[in-house]
Point group: D2
Chain length 354, copies 4
């Protein structure tokens, strides 16, 4: 794509939170035009009926996916923000009709490369195994070059982006013991999506905290795959997700043991060096820990590392906005890589605090 060209993009599933966040970012992206928005159950409505914050902005009306003529649409790229399992069928069909279309998929459907791992974690065979093989895992800081050439990118999960950015450089450097990693993660409520469920009502989840999916959360499959790849051996971590009464933000508190004589300061140095030139990963000075509110609305991840009082152990904190770097912001970052745009384009927002 030529340097000054523009891209026509679509969002499949625009009535959910990641869909809305894509629209927020794309509306201000210097080289992307929103040409298509879908929402099957809200087809025919204006986006403002679904998300009133877009009321002042001209946007295409919501349509049903089945009503799209993909070749007439002539899109350069679509973001797919549809539910798990539906997604693989939709993308298979869309790419059959428009094979040159590029796709950034925000669901979990194409994150696992191994069909057997997929079947084990999700309880059914994958419906598009060829695409599964083709898909590139879209953690930009780790798989940047493959993403540039990809047609289909599997945007990572929010929990897993946060934990991977904190741990992958340390695993690659063999600086920590892969057998003693505990990840305690806290997420804001938007991570649970917009489906109307009793357990997500304000009065159910405000003023309290709880863990969920303890011992068997599906995001673990993604962690296993990427951590093992980074370490060059099997890695299985303890991981517990929690819900906190806030809209946005993931905070991962990670307990690790340094290998051999390495001190906490050495681990910090590994992280600092890894991310010295990354636009969206910021390593705090040694001993400072991040807060989710300081990255809210931005595509940044803040990482901090502190010495534990137990010799040889360290505690890492990583914070990101689950809807931005944990979903739609990273999706736009992937689009930028796939379309040859500057990687940070349209993602320069400074965090909204307070």
């Amino acid at each position: 794509m030529a340097e000054e060209s523009r891209a026509k993009v679509g969002v499949l599933g625009a009535s959910g939170y990641t869909g809305a966040e894509l629209v927020r970012l794309l509306l201000r992206h210097p080289r992307a035009d929103i040409a298509l928005l879908t929402a099957d159950r809200r087809a025919g409505q204006e986006m403002r009926a679904v998300f009133p914050q877009f009321s002042p902005f001209p946007l295409p009306k919501l349509v049903a996916i089945d009503a799209i003529d993909w070749s007439a649409a002539a899109l350069d790229l679509v973001f797919c923000a549809l539910p798990h399992a539906t997604t693989q069928k939709v993308i298979k069909e869309v790419l059959a009709q428009a094979p040159r279309l590029k796709v950034v998929d925000l669901s979990a459907d194409f994150r696992l490369a191994d069909p057997q791992a997929y079947a084990r974690w999700y309880g059914h065979e994958h419906a598009a195994t060829q695409l599964q093989r083709e898909a590139v895992y879209g953690l930009c800081e780790v798989h940047r070059e493959a993403i540039r050439k990809a047609r289909l990118v599997a945007n990572p999960g929010c929990y897993t982006t946060c934990a991977q950015l904190a741990l992958i450089p340390l695993l690659k450097a063999k600086a920590i013991d892969p057998d003693e990693i505990v990840i305690d993660a806290k997420s804001g409520m938007t991570g649970a999506g917009r489906a109307a469920k009793e357990e997500m009502l304000f009065s159910e989840v405000s003023e309290g905290m709880h863990a969920y999916g303890v011992g068997h959360h599906r995001h673990m499959a993604e962690l296993d795959q990427e951590f093992s790849l980074a370490a060059g051996r099997d890695v299985v971590v303890s991981f517990t997700p929690h819900l906190a009464p806030m809209n946005r933000g993931i905070l991962s508190t990670i307990y690790v043991r340094a290998v051999g004589p390495a001190a906490a300061e050495d681990l910090h140095a590994v992280l600092s060096k890894s991310y010295a030139n990354e636009p969206f990963v910021h390593v705090l000075p040694f001993g400072e820990m991040p807060q989710t509110r300081h990255v809210r609305g931005s595509n940044l991840t803040f990482i901090g590392l502190t010495r534990d009082r137990i010799a040889g152990r360290a505690i890492i904190g990583a914070a990101l906005d689950n809807l931005v770097k944990g979903a739609s912001g990273q999706a736009v970052q992937n689009m930028n890589l796939m379309l040859g745009f500057p990687e940070a384009m349209g993602l320069e927002q400074v965090a909204l605090f307070p």
Copy 2:
């Protein structure tokens, strides 16, 4: 100032919330450079120590106001986000040293044009009455032309911006009875500033609501002045501010009576027509009411109007982000006007929801 010129700007009082919000906006303003940040009690520190969200960005160190050589600084404009009463002394001194400097003042010090009204509401004589006379009241949509030529602009208060945008067109059009206006306003906690006070602690103000300053809030003086100007006669309204457990947002619910045969629909038409070409005021379709969350982080004000069940009466809702259109966003909008920049420059952010 030439079309492609850039502006060197400063922020006096950068350690408060409106100061931080100015930095957030100015960091991404295409033609402004942050050349000076002050915070007397934090002088010598980095901005990141005061507001960690700025950690990745290069910013000048915080200095004390007294340490500034104003002619060497060679600024084009300063934003003054200092406490009430201090402000008038500081600005008087600064303008004495740098008479060609432009100033946008976010305090209440220069909002009242009448020295007697000032003395009555604040209990002391104004310390810079000449500047008080010079200052232009900075509600952009109402005083745009005067602002373009001003050296000193008094940025309006958050409550008053919200109420004025809803009512001034109706008062000017003599469409509502000026003697029967009730304004019930709800504000997020950032409106109360960053001073460490017991009554602003999380545990004091979360999970509950209350009114404050009932019957005697100082913002009323500003409303009296501008409403009377708009109506061409004295206007005194009932106004009650409340604190709600949220960070940002003001919601004004306003009860009015239409004059003569005018129906609620006519009032709505007056508002729609007034704001048809305004970039930052959006009038919702008749009968829809705004939510603060849908303007969060943006410079927009949403206004809605609904028929009351009592004949001849209407209920108006107006929502804005108290730190943006209610403070720092409007201050940047004023800067744009004063420096000849496009009025909306650097203020295009779409609201952050959820």
Copy 3:
């Protein structure tokens, strides 16, 4: 019922918030035993599966209403916390089977005494007009004697309890102008119930405020009825409900004009005198305004009154917990009256703040 007797009570609709609140209060009531809990969709489950806070307490299993043998159940009183419209059919049927059973109904079904007013506000004929005529409106402080003798009590709504306690003494005393009353009410989210609706999700309603039902909220019918009764003439008020990001609490800010020479202090004296001996209504010193958090979890209503700056006008604040005095607490208070128990029995909890 003899002084030391105990009562066997049931809760129809125990899986909602008012149902849970009834269980919370009844578990610690010295003379009530919970003998029956219903929840049609959760029939067969333990209460702890629906509300884990009851996990340590022995409670009857949830059953379906249709499965109950009302004469075998031999209850003294049931609380009915079922949805609107369903309720009238259920109560009609239950009382047909168990005519000596006493009923406190928490729905809106029996609050309006006038069948025509009911049909106009709800759009259909009432299905139990005879019971509608029999039902006593259960605002204890106003209709105490009728409640003592009632078989069927219509527990008032949360908004209306709050506004009535603030205004009825003033209307009765003809101290305020009935034609110029504006009630601006703010409610916590539990007032909207536990039904899984998108607009009640945490991420939809946290961090923001909005009005709803503007100009046509059904609670107005109840206000019209009771205010007109108190004033001895037709009274129609402006009333706007809002949702605030908190679990519990209603704050009503009420704008009134004193009649004739009466000053705000006189209005305050009327309220103070009216409630001098009431256990659950507390009038704050003149000029102090209430906060919802200070009545949280208690059956108290706090009322404050302040002079407006406009001569002859006053601003009243009233705060209660919508689930206690606004629903289940008042329902227990009604039970106490109906069964001859001390009126405050089981309702002595001190507010939970912070």
Copy 4:
């Protein structure tokens, strides 16, 4: 103390959150009378000026500690809710004047039995070492018999109560490896007290999460002492406290490794058996995890335990209300033991949810 006797009690430091919570509980305690409330900076004021929720209740005026004549006061017991370090001097002085007075101290001053450990963690010598030796550590479920006979009880910290109730039975049973314990704790904001600090303002701590005191929080000293006592050997754990945007509640997520062939189910059985007859510790069925909101306002601790996917590892969740079982509720429980009252008296409140 005879079975039907009453106790005259005082609260030193009644203007803080734990002081208010003591008053809330004691106002409804069947055998305690609040005879004294102190608050040095608010001396001479009514309690309602400091905590408006007590406005309807008769309470003694706040006095300064120095103004008290301890023998005339003739109290049976005082609760001491004063800041760290001040406390030891005050209690030493008070007990010198009134040697038969019983004291429940809610500060950290008397929790560490070892003067050297105290000096190491707090950086200064203890000012009342004799009392330090006398004091009994007041975790009721563990030290019940010693508490009954104690004159001075050191009420445990909120974090440490939560972690100890989860781990002590497992350590005593030697069922888990003491060298591999990670405690990740999340606390509501009331745990940080009522002092006016910038970092505790609503806008600083709402809508986000962060860890603090990482690697060096003082509560660790208390954990070390009690865990080592339980295990019969030195135990040093990893412990990280976090602040969550809620008022009340501590959630501890604890990662442990079972010893030898023990499975997660065996660990669960140890906990269930230990607490079978405890009124305030409730072990959830295997695999269920607790939520802080389900114990809000109650003296209960909920404990859950789930199998981790890593063989031999388990994840424990423990939830309590930091102001009740984590502070004032446990203090009343201690009072009950010390005065020979039924242990659960006045502590029967059911949790306030939602």
